[in-house]
């Protein structure tokens, strides 16, 4: 159970016993059942953020102090001085590992400082010797040198820097697919850390930030590296990635939380909706091939092979997670994540005509929003109800703008949709009142 809830529950127990709601015995049994609230090196978020910013500012200040009289110094001294922030960072991190291994905040901030210092050292030396500006090589070297810190120091901000860095690297290699696909094994190295962060404290900022950055980076990298020789396959790849993100976000924790604390569910859901909504438009299917970001250069078979394998693996994962949710009777979640399956069907049907894919996705979005509205009523969940209503109205309004219907009727549709919204919420509130 979530520690925040548990702490609240334990706070309440004495009062409940006092007011005779619970017997002392029952209260003890509850404590026994849930056990102690464990606090393994709990981080103070403020301390981490300010500690890291502070460390970073100090590092920048040191570099600026040196850079002020830079040109008076001989070349070799400049080069050696460039290493000083790096050495200071290493000493600080070593001190924390030896003396304060329990402090998550200190580990996080010194590891971040050290990560930035590695980049600063390489950049300053490149400048001293006028080294050719090859940004991709610089970034990759930097990222590989800070990667072990993520695990040795159990630090998430270096993981965030690393993920952003390898994404930028994949982006600068977008025209050589054989290299850009290396993003995927590089990103996979961070997965154990992500799982560790989620296990540590599902609702904590740490897990939220790492999973958010991971999701965004994977999406960018997919556009740089996947489906390069498969025109139009993005209509399957991106729903699959969003579905995997969405399913992962719904995984194993069913307690009510805010979207901020469940970034994966939020990003996945939003992405799926936006894509499915796009797929209800004709232009999307008509010009499918021309949206492709494939390149015309000769691509080696090996480069394409990796692309194929990873693309198929992602699609297969999305389909498997869909069946898993179906099997566990998570119908609402499963249905939302059915988009990749429909996209596969639509992708092949599109070769015959654009009409069938359009029909499939218009119907799908219609049924999807209805199912959410119905489930919202049945489960007494207002947010489910309203997202369903919102999706339905967006679909209806879009279809009416598509067609050549007079302004009067369009206006009427708006009014009807608005009334529908109000009515549904009114009926819902009444029912809640009835329940009370």
């Amino acid at each position: 159970m979530n520690k925040v809830f548990l702490r609240w529950l334990y706070q309440e127990l004495p009062g409940l016993v006092e007011k005779d709601v619970l017997s002392q015995e029952a209260a003890d049994k509850i404590r026994q059942f849930y056990g102690e609230v464990k606090n393994p090196g709990r981080m103070n978020v403020g301390l981490v953020i300010f500690g890291t910013i502070g460390a970073f500012l100090i590092g920048l200040g040191i570099i600026l102090l040196f850079a002020h009289n830079w040109d008076q110094l001989p070349r070799l001294s400049r080069a050696v001085l460039s290493l000083s922030p790096l050495i200071i960072g290493q000493i600080l991190a070593l001190w924390v590992l030896l003396k304060k291994p329990q402090s998550g905040a200190l580990k996080e901030s010194t590891a971040t400082f050290l990560s930035l210092a590695v980049g600063a050292a390489i950049a300053l030396i490149s400048q001293t010797y006028n080294i050719h500006g090859d940004a991709a090589t610089f970034i990759l070297t930097w990222m590989l040198l800070i990667l072990p810190l993520v695990y040795i120091m159990q630090a998430s901000l270096p993981a965030v820097i690393y993920l952003i860095g390898i994404t930028a690297w994949a982006g600068s290699n977008w025209d050589s697919p054989a290299r850009a696909v290396i993003f995927w094994p590089l990103a996979a190295i961070i997965v154990p850390h992500l799982i560790w962060a989620l296990r540590q404290e599902i609702y904590a900022l740490r897990a939220a930030i790492v999973s958010l950055v991971m999701a965004v980076c994977v999406l960018f990298a997919a556009s740089f590296s996947l489906g390069r020789n498969w025109p139009g396959l993005w209509v399957v790849i991106f729903p699959s990635i969003f579905a995997v993100i969405y399913f992962t976000g719904n995984w194993k924790f069913n307690q009510i939380t805010t979207n901020w604390q469940k970034p994966l569910r939020f990003i996945g859901g939003m992405g799926l909706f936006v894509l499915v909504f796009q797929f209800t438009f004709k232009y999307c299917w008509q010009y499918l091939g021309s949206y492709s970001y494939g390149i015309n250069r000769d691509i080696s078979f090996i480069g394409l092979l990796a692309d194929y394998i990873i693309t198929l693996a992602i699609i297969a994962t999305a389909v498997l997670l869909f069946y898993d949710n179906l099997k566990r009777k998570n119908n609402l979640v499963a249905f939302f994540g059915a988009a990749p399956l429909l996209a596969i069907v639509a992708y092949f049907l599109n070769m015959q005509s654009t009409f069938l894919p359009l029909l499939i996705f218009n119907l799908y979005l219609f049924v999807l929003s209805l199912s959410r509205i119905v489930a919202g009523f049945r489960l007494n969940n207002q947010s489910l109800l309203n997202t369903g209503m919102l999706m339905l109205s967006v679909l209806i309004i879009a279809r009416f703008f598509d067609s050549d219907i007079s302004f009067i009727i369009k206006g009427l549709v708006f009014i009807i949709v608005g009334i529908g919204f109000l009515m549904a919420n009114l009926v819902y509130t009444r029912r809640l009142g009835g329940v009370k």
Partner: protein, 183 residues
């Protein structure tokens, strides 16, 4: 036990973090100390946009060599550019080799593209860093010279075993730093 392992791993990572920049320093210092000096004519990339904050963007006046061999070469492929020195003392690229030459000066570089019988190279020297305060003054000097048609800028480059490191930049026979001081 576990803490010892963590510290050991950490020290190993620190070593890698130090060795990477140190090897960058050592390689370049070695070239600057032991490498042979060559003068390469440079042209401003764009005389009005040569100084980008802290560095001068450089382009070799002749960043190509003749390539009449019809073997197919890919853009971005690694090549060795052979160097010879003309009668006026300026270095030029004289040919391409796919494998490391056994003797003679050369630069390890990448092929940019082939146009006609010329193979254009992606020369690993494209910038010369200067102090931030000196940049605007240096820009003025650079422009005055290029306006007078005296585009007599050259870079002194040291080369050893295929690695090239820029040593200094000369405009109208003077070091750019000295010209800036005189101004």
């Amino acid at each position: 036990m576990k803490i010892k392992l963590i510290i050991g791993l950490f020290l190993f990572v620190c070593l890698a973090q130090i060795i990477t920049p140190l090897s960058m320093i050592a390689n370049r210092e070695l070239v600057l100390k032991r490498g042979t000096q060559y003068k390469f004519k440079v042209a401003p990339v764009d005389p009005y946009d040569a100084f980008r904050g802290r560095y001068v963007a450089l382009r070799f006046e002749e960043d190509y060599c003749l390539y009449t061999n019809r073997d197919k070469l890919n853009s971005g492929q690694q090549v060795y550019a052979l160097i010879n020195v003309d009668e006026r003392g300026f270095a030029k690229f004289s040919g391409l080799a796919m494998n490391r030459p056994e003797k003679g000066p050369y630069i390890k570089t990448r092929l940019n593209y082939i146009s006609g019988d010329k193979a254009y190279l992606d020369i690993p020297i494209d910038r010369y860093y200067m102090e931030e305060g000196a940049a605007p003054r240096a820009e003025k000097i650079y422009q005055q010279h290029s306006r007078g048609g005296k585009e007599d800028a050259y870079a002194i480059i040291r080369i050893k075993d295929g690695l090239a490191v820029i040593e200094s930049l000369y405009v109208a026979g003077d070091k750019i730093e000295d010209l800036v001081k005189k101004e």
